[in-house]
Amino acid sequence: MTLFFLGLGLILAGGAFAWLLQRTRIADSVFALLVSLGCAAALIPAAGVLGGRTVAGVAWDLGPPTGIWAFDIDALSALFVAVVLGVGLAAVLYGISYLAPEREHRSVGGTHFLTALFLVAMALVVTARATIPFLIAWELMALSAYLLVVFEDEQREVRRAGLIYLAATHIGTLALVAMFALWGTHAGGFTFDAFSRSALPAGAGAAVLSLALLGFGFKAGLVPLHFWLPGAHAAAPSHISALMSGVMIKTGIYGLLRVISLIGGAPPWWSWTVLALGALSGVLGVLWALAQHDLKRLLAYHSIENIGIILLGVGTGALGIAYGRPALALLGFAGAVLHTANHAVFKSLLFMGAGTVFRATGTRAMDRLGGLARHMPLTWILFLIGSVAIVGLPPLNGFVSEWLVFLGMLQAGAALGPVRAAVLGAGVLALIGGLALACFAKVGGVVFLGEPRSESAAKGREAGPGYIAPMAALALACVAIGLLAPPAVRIALEVAATVAGAAGPARQDVIAPLTAAASGITVVSGGLVVLIGLAWAWRRMLERRRPSAWTETWACGYNGVAGRMQYTAASYAAPLLAAFARLSGIRVARAPGAFHTHPFDLVLERLVLPTWRRMAGTAEAIRPLQQGRLQTYLLYIVGVLLALLLYLWLGGAA
């Protein structure tokens, strides 16, 4: 743990230097160096735990009311620490290049400091083992993220997105505060140890679990608590979007898993709810992503989708505990944690790709992009790797975790009793996969392929190594996890075992065969790579013998293609969205010779904002209470006095 805290200290110090030295030339290098060192140092204990060693937790007693501050790294924490700091390091390094052009306009050093703080807070969230440090880390994370989101606060949209984010996260935090208050009251202590030792009465247990779902659900961004997410992710600088989408929302998942492990399982109704919410988030997230025209908003909605997939895993695992099927629990949780890690990697990669595109072209509107593959080949390949991974296709990591989630749900079908119904979730997951494929084909095709749709897209040029290297590292991770499926699956299962509380031979009975099966994935993925590579070599050899001709696109007799004539993102998505009718969340504007679709968030604009307006209206309606006349104010006092005397007279005097 010393190494861990030392690492976090280094990260913070790096941030502080970046801030203090921001006018000097060495600021960036010092920042990069210290953060790299810090991440490396803090990752060592985490890697050790994942490798099977144990770390001794620490606890300081600060006296009431903040009580004991305990920190510990178990397998679950270790995985999340690895995600936070691994992806975090890439994001920070990317951020240094990404923010460099902003240097003239604003305090970049301050942003770097906040980023470091954000990282540290997240690392503390996943290692804290007592209420107060957890909540403090949680809120530091939420607030530093807020400050990072409003980086470009001169834009109205950004401010609005920030406010909505802040409101959502605050509600979530309060739900957690209530959860801990309730839990601690019943457990007689506020450390996680006390929680795990106590048995909650049924009513309190239900309340704790519901509040956990609300509080962590807001952070994770599951439908319908997701409404803050697209705006905030789109508004933030890209490396922050990467961190938020890739890492921050996962702390919600961490929270759910931690609560499950502390309570020792959840009742069926809760597990089914999680499963249903996962299905809902998955389908609606990807559907709404499909409707977006803004690259980053689209990616943000995909985070909701992937949170849905993760929740399908979490729900399956919880069902496994609830119905006493440890194998099911292991598989479900393993799918969830592996997908969490995977999503962190490829979603950060994608957001960085989007940021690179934004820096190169100055726009995020997909209908103004196109043809970037020619001038930005590296960015395109890296983005493509991210896309293939997120769609869950071999040979990359997304496939491995979706495979686990699928297996988990099918495993439910092998059981007896009501839990069997979970098997139908496989159909939902398949639909999600299909929609995601359609969506990322759209993104890749519209943004990078074809012809540029605007001047700015035509100007796009390849980014420097400061952008490419962090993305390449993440892409490499995607490939590595995809090809080395067996160890990844084994680690995920070990982590899942800590969540499920499974131990001993039962656990090995599940882990060994699955790890073996995962080598099948390696064969498929490796085969795919090798065969396509061979086919490509062979085809090029053939081409050398019969050289190809180069001409215009045929386009059914039209002369060539012009940028504006191409299929747009909106028209591409139209048939799919039409099939989902109103659920798809687009407003269609038709005019002779013109067709526009405007995506909007169903929950935000149909539910949240109207509710808020109604509340504001109610508040407005009682304003006349404070209408300025002194006599009326005095009447209030008299009225209160009389009412109280009446109370005394009627009830209290006896």
Partner: protein, 474 residues
Amino acid sequence: MLLLALVLLPALGALGAYLHRAEARRTAWLVAVAAIHLALVTLVWTTPPPAVFSGWIAVDALGLIVLTLTSLLFFVAAIYTVGYLRRESPRGGRAFVSCVLAFLASVSLVALSHHFAVLWIALEASTLAVAPLIFHRRDRRSLEAVWKYLVISSVAIALALLGTFFLSTAQANSAGTPLLLEDLVADAARLHPAWLKAAFILLLVGYGTKMGLAPMHTWKPDTYGEAPSVVGALMAGALTSAAFLGLARINEVTTAAGISAFTRPLLLFFGLFSIVVAAAFVIGQTDVKRLLAYSSVEHMGLLAVGLGLGGVGAYGATLHIVTNGLTKGLLFLVLGNVILVAGTTQAGAMHGLAKRLPISGGLLLLGLFAVTGSPPSGVFISEFAILRAAFAEGHVWVGVVLLILLVVIFLGLATTILKIVHGTPERREPRESGWLVLGPIGLAAGVILLGIYIPAPLQSALRQAAAALGGVAP
């Protein structure tokens, strides 16, 4: 003697300030008195002095907490005043410093008094000391504000006087010095319950009005809206705490007399009602000072709720006195900086504060998160304790309502304050004056420190105070 000095020093200081003709000397005088007062308070912590005037003036944990808060806030405010008076030189500056010092004297007396009549006199005196300060700007609006403040406060405090008389009537059959806190508590069983209850009601209305519990809070937005920011900080941080102390004192008596079943529901009701009203008026509030006033109403409500819940809630309420006081001081002073450069209290007319005044902007943001109870601010710790009490004492619905209202209030506050912090500023200001930011920085540090660690002496004081109020420390 030390206790008397705590009251007499600022009282004589007030007279002395009036004799100084040069403004610079007056402000130096002010800072000096504040510093000495703070030093004396520190002395009280290290060597608790004996009671004087046969126990009428004494120091106990609860009083000491309020006294320290007041002294600390006053010191910060005094430093701030140096910068403030440089920027905005008021007419009648002489009266300003004198009244501020008189205020310190009266609030110190409130904190030290263990006699209900003395308590009343001191609170009334503090009311009157503040009145000229509100009228500081001498325009129509401040005239209206001071008039409303005076009438409502005076009427309320008159009711409190009636309550004090009732209390003495209730004591007719019991032994001990009339209206002396210790004797009332010691012989509480023989107090006449009906008179005691009536006394509680009147004191609740009287001191509740001084605190600003809804619906008796009506003077608050007007007063805070028109008073100079320094005065706002002192009122919202110290004066309301002193008024709450009055309520806490009678609560000590009712708890000892065993009529909590009668008093606690009332405290809960007024507490929650205050928070409801605050929530309703915070939404869409465009005047930043009125916004803070309603926030103050909310926190007074929280204090009442904590007291009404008992148990850990009493501890939470006691801690909340401190955390709320520091936070309110921070917010008022920082907003004072904003108003000094913007020349208005309308949120719509200020934006880009984070770029215009980076330090104040950051502090305002911090204050916003602190006052809404985000960890790691001390306010969070105290609110958490109150929430725990709601669950532990079986008032789950109180906890639920509280949480929902806190969300609404957060939204209202955040909407307005973030509008000020973010955006593009009209122009940039030169470097911020140290006098104007030093105090708020100190307060912010204090608020955050209390959210992480509570020093041992304060901890034991809180424990004793909670026990006196019939509660327990967590």
